[in-house]
């Protein structure tokens, strides 16, 4: 594809891949596709391209040129970036001021084996799959302050702003997060940033059976010790974690503490007393090991290069044990994050019927299921996301209000949206 030099006008509409280099061109492309009823697949670096239903769009809108930090005000706790800015480079920039994006977006690099590395900020927002700190700081949707972008008619729209507290008009920013690029092509995103925690340690209790681990995590979350991560890996994943200080065999229950050095030690002491940790196989991972442990969790290391299918279930934590026992017949590998509220499942043989059965069990306990990767490429024959008919109807109306001709990622979430 060629761009005419020194021109703002987009030239090559005949290409399959349309790669704008500025905002004006984005608008021209969307207007062109709107006028000609051309569905577009919106991509950044493609790190999460495989999540969602398969798309067969006539055009691909490659947004990878629209990248860069536009405005960063550490004192005001916000950063404004272009959509295809890599998450890594945002975190690097923030680190210079001892700040970070606290929501730890899931890194699928090890799952889809892409060179795209961790992907772009718009990709992370489109999926809203947030990491282990979820129960403490919220997910991506809780950290977006505002956006600018184009709707399906090519009209420039904005919502929110750069300030922390804002109720002016509907909160469209939240609606955009998790919409898998079906509502708006983003051009600017403003995010809340937070001060980096000065220190971190992780308590690892080895060998706890599932029920005991869930109880321990529940009691950690219900305590005033303010944990920022609670994860359980069954024994079969033990060898994925090699740390100098971790000597015990068996399952891993990891509880993360962050804050000042003294306060972490105080809280660890509290846990020792509350749970009689002296009598259990307990290891304390220091800052370096702790950071690696949670990075491994965030990047789903235990499922690295998996050729199996991957499902993500979110449930009320009180129901996790119940769910796992109801899923036993499916022989899945699993681990829990969010103190038991997030269950990652890896399955070998999957069929549409099996997904339906698993989804029914998840929905029965008040949760929802998302198919992240399906080995047998079942995404056309089964639902990737969970939605009830009324929510579907509302979502369809919302889609229409943004993208009346359904040109943005049509069918990526559900048929008809």
């Amino acid at each position: 594809m060629e761009l005419k030099k020194n021109s703002q006008t987009f030239q090559d509409f005949n290409s399959t891949i349309l790669k704008p280099s500025n905002e004006e061109q984005i608008q021209q492309i969307i207007r062109y596709c709107y006028k000609n009823n051309l569905p577009i697949e919106i991509v950044g670096t493609g790190s999460k391209k495989e999540i969602g239903k398969n798309l067969q769009c006539k055009k691909i809108l490659d947004m990878s040129n629209i990248s860069g930090i536009m405005d960063y005000k550490p004192d005001e706790l916000y950063i404004t970036v272009k959509p295809s800015t890599p998450i890594n480079s945002i975190q690097e920039e923030l680190k210079k001021n001892n700040q970070y994006l606290a929501f730890e977006p899931v890194n699928f690099e090890k799952i889809f084996g892409k060179d795209s590395k961790e992907g772009t900020i718009a990709g992370a927002l489109s999926c809203n799959f947030s990491g282990s700190r979820r129960f403490k700081v919220g997910s991506a949707r809780d950290h977006i302050l505002g956006f600018k972008g184009y709707n399906g008619k090519g009209e420039k729209i904005k919502s929110g702003g750069t300030v922390q507290k804002n109720v002016t008009g509907y909160d469209l920013s939240k609606l955009i997060v998790g919409s898998f690029g079906t509502l708006v092509v983003l051009t600017e995103i403003t995010l809340k940033v937070l001060p980096l925690e000065s220190d971190t340690k992780t308590i690892v209790i080895s060998g706890l059976p599932l029920e005991d681990s869930l109880e321990t995590m529940g009691s950690a979350l219900n305590s005033s010790n303010d944990p920022s991560g609670a994860v359980f890996y069954p024994e079969n994943f033990r060898n994925s974690f090699i740390f100098n200080d971790l000597a015990y065999p068996g399952s891993i229950t990891g509880i993360r503490l962050e804050g000042t050095f003294g306060s972490i030690d105080r809280r660890i002491k509290n846990f020792y007393n509350q749970w009689s940790l002296n009598e259990k196989k307990t290891t304390i991972l220091d800052k370096t090991q702790s950071i690696i442990f949670w990075e491994d969790t965030r990047s789903l290391k235990v499922f690295s290069n998996t050729d199996k299918s991957l499902l993500r279930a979110v449930v009320p934590p009180s129901e996790t044990t119940n769910l796992i026992s109801r899923l036993r017949l499916f022989h899945a590998n699993y681990f829990f994050d969010w103190g038991g509220a997030l269950v990652w499942l890896e399955l070998d043989y999957l069929s549409s019927e099996k997904i339906d059965q698993i989804r029914k069990r998840v929905v029965d306990v008040g949760g929802y299921l998302t198919v992240i990767k399906s080995k047998q490429n079942l995404k056309d024959s089964t639902e990737v996301f969970t939605v009830d008919p009324i929510e579907f109807r509302i979502s369809q109306n919302i889609k229409k209000s943004f993208d009346p001709k359904r040109i943005f990622n049509p069918g990526r979430m559900y048929r008809g949206i």
Binding site: I157, Q164, V167, S224, D226, F402
Partner: protein
Amino acid sequence: MPKIDNKVIQNRDQIIKDLGKFISKENILSHQDEIKPYETDGLTAYKQKPLIVILPETTKEVSKVLSYCNKNKIKVVPRGAGTGLSGGALPSADCVLLSLGKFNKILEIDFKNRCVVAQTGVTNLAITQAVQDNNFYYAPDPSSQIACSIGGNVAENSGGIHSLKYGTTTNNILGLKVVLMDGTITKIGGKVFDSPGYDLLGLMTGSEGLLCVITEVTAKILRKPDTIKAALLGFPTIEDSGNCVGEIIAEGIIPAGMEIMDKALIQATEKFSKAGYPLDAEAMMIVELDGTDLDVTELLKKIAEIGKKNNCTTVKISNSEEERLKFWSGRKAAFPACATLAPDYFCMDGTIPRGKLAEVLREITRLSKEYNLPVANAFHAGDGNLHPLILYDANDQQSLEKAEKFGADILKYCVKVGGVLTGEHGVGIEKRELMCEMFNQNDIQQQLNIKIALDPSSLLNPGKVYPILRKCAEQGRIHVHGAKEKFSDIPRF
């Protein structure tokens, strides 16, 4: 307000009769004396009695009322506790006012999943009270928390003094049961984090009663921190206090609460609550920290140092829970204290970048002189949410008009420096005309498209939030700049 539908008013008796088929008679209020309490909300400058008031008791009843009104093109204004400050629950003469006061039960307390399921009319404070014996609490704490309803909090996305660290309502709820204008009942979310499709929870929260009627809320509860302490700092200038806030944040400290009051308010609240505020200070800051004892003590020391560096003249640190509450007692009484200064006040609600505090306060002082109306300022300094209280006399028509213009000028200035019109009170009718200061016609049209998608006849809480002709909402658009609308003789919806 929207054009009155005289046909609906003429049909009043028939409507009462029809609604009586599924709402018990004692829950339909139609006598002028009965409906008078519903003529206004916390924005008392505007008053209008509704056609009738309905007090449903179940979600099914809400659904039937909405479905009936939808079919018969009758406007519906939902109302929680009526404490809103932007006129979001102001009725129109031809509307059915749906008061959710009878939805007053806590349905479930679930410590395992750290949430409370409450009916929409349960007060904000009642949620904390229901779980505080187990050392839990519900984080958002608007100053009206003793009276305001959780459903109203969701509709307005209410905040409070702890929002910088703990977020506003939208960050603290997990699920809703709602009824759409066509009578559809649906659950959104549940006891789980996030949603598998569009974030409808995020959309409905803060939608000011325009998209749905909320009947149940699943609120997230948090474990109470071990230690909570507050510091009181007095400053010789507003600039100093503003700089201090900036440096605290730059130091990487996120306090649980950080409030600033100006001299006028320090004096008024001190007289009212005897909290021990520094009367000689031009600005006063209350900083609250929570967490482990060690963290709180260490960070308070740091904050005192930052304060001194920024010329603070007084530093007091609470030594007991009583003292901490005493520090807050004045701030929490800021609004009633203003009632001792003037017969009426307008409480504005812009949010600004923290760094612009001194500049915005200077502009407010200038405007105060220009309009010849006194003003007192309270400020959620942590998140940049400013509450100038404009003092006026509602019985004096000129004073009311001046106060409204003064308020509008403040909000315009907030937007000019990169802020927004409202941080936590909502747009309602109060700031409706100012929406075009912040949004252009595309932005507003997109929001209206969502409204039309969920409520095609624009019957649910019409006339609020958006300054657009209803006709235009459906067929086209019109730009309204500032408060000067182009066709002021055409009724608006």
